[in-house]
Subunit: 277 residues, 2 copies
């Protein structure tokens, strides 16, 4: 298999070239905002990008070895540039990008558009700063069949390399709205008919007792201090994940997984009921 | 508040002293096995150690600042040694031990003893290698009210510093059995009357449909390749966490959290039923 002619532009061979620097600059928020681009690194993220959002993929950088190993990804039609392992490492944020990196366009996703599609479950990250937790919650939302994710202002950048890696490709699976203040998000969600449930360890109702039968949004707060008081009071209901044993708490990603899967259970239940006799 | 006289032994002041080296050596498995000791780092882990398993705490090393800030931990009665931030950093594995480190004895926990207490839910980690996933599953087991955790042979050492940190203190909350081969674990669990459920993405039954009403054990496999075929066939039932949306999978910690919380729901249900009229 030859893949050499595919690259339409001259691929950089020098780790200090302007192109390499420009790609690596995307590890920084300011450079991402200015260019409107972000990095997807490694076969899992790049495969999902190419498969589900090929419109977002601007350039694919691959080593020879990766081009052979991940032929399914590289042959999907995006502009491919062959690079040496050194050049790829100099472009990447990840320590092990496994020979594959995509420069992608940051999609512009509007909350009103998302709401026009009548979502049943929306996941809101309010002032979540930890990239691993944020990415894992986006992955959990995807796996639990949520319709959209909102990452509020004051949160980690959803397109930071570590967030992208933690989503394991889910960033390309469902709409992710960014940059809005929590009160504005809540107001629009409610206007669209969704109940707003704040997940908080001090909630008086457990996730088992929460009403998840109608369209709703989960509000998840910061990984260290939870939801701010001013955001908590905006919710229709405050719901906790019960903590048994002697544990004091769950981490954000685990608590969100339990909540989002509780929503999925109710959804599966309601989807099944119309098939009855 | 003065805490200087508490230290019964002379605290090391030199980062290259034998004592500092001996403590730091516990980041390595061989040194832990030889000494029968491990490190608990940071206020959360050390607080839980002091609170729930003071019998395991051999020595507490604290900086001045941490002694003031975490007086509740330091005043609990364990032998305290005042050290400089440099010495603490030289002893620790964590980049930010927050001024507090405990050298603890590795408890010897016997599966037969655990089973004699008639557990209702047991969590088995089979060949799990990733310390963050292993620690998070132990934390999830604790939070979901499981009675014990088994970490099989061929898994990461449950007392490795990164596992201890990821458990967020749960390692001191419930019995953790280590070092046994999976087939031996399954045989004993079954002999004690527990059903053995393998968590696997290819299970024909979802976690919602699994029978969790009687005592059972969850078998969770390696974070990358799942359960080995020879372990999978030992189970009474193979159960999957349904994956909705376009996501391909959940990570191990998330899947285990969903399974263990499903067990907790059934347990809460059965615990409530006898209180009916």
């Amino acid at each position: 298999m030859s893949h050499a002619p595919r690259g339409s532009r001259v691929a950089p061979t020098n780790v200090r070239s302007d192109r390499v620097r420009a790609v690596h600059a995307l590890v920084r928020p300011a450079a991402r905002a200015k260019a409107g681009l972000f990095l997807a690194e490694g076969p899992q993220a790049v495969r999902e990008a190419v498969r589900w959002r090929p419109d977002l993929v601007r350039d694919l950088y691959v080593t020879d070895e990766a081009a052979r190993r991940y032929a399914d990804i590289v042959d999907a039609g995006q502009p491919v540039h062959d690079v040496t392992p050194d050049v790829l490492a100099a472009m990447a944020d990840a320590q092990t990008p496994q020979g594959l990196l995509a420069v992608c366009r940051i999609p512009s996703v509007d909350l009103d558009q998302v709401l026009a599609a009548r979502p049943r479950v929306v996941c809101v990250l309010a002032h979540v700063r930890d990239p691993g937790n944020a990415g894992t919650v986006i992955r959990a939302a995807d796996a639990a069949g949520a319709d959209a994710v909102v990452v509020s202002d004051g949160s980690v950048d959803a397109y930071a390399p570590k967030v992208v890696r933690s989503t394991a490709g889910s960033l390309f699976h469902l709409p992710v709205v960014t940059g809005m203040p929590v009160p504005a998000v809540v107001a629009r969600l409610r206007a669209a008919g969704l109940r707003v449930l704040a997940a908080d360890g001090a909630g008086d109702r457990t996730v088992e007792d929460a009403d998840l039968t109608t369209p709703h949004a989960w509000l998840f707060g910061n990984e260290a201090w939870g939801l701010r008081e001013e955001d908590l009071v905006l919710a229709d209901d405050v719901v906790r994940v019960p903590v048994h044993g002697r544990a004091e708490s769950l981490n954000l990603a685990m608590a969100a997984t339990v909540c989002l899967y509780a929503s999925a259970r109710h959804r599966a239940g309601s989807a099944e009921s119309p098939t009855g006799p």
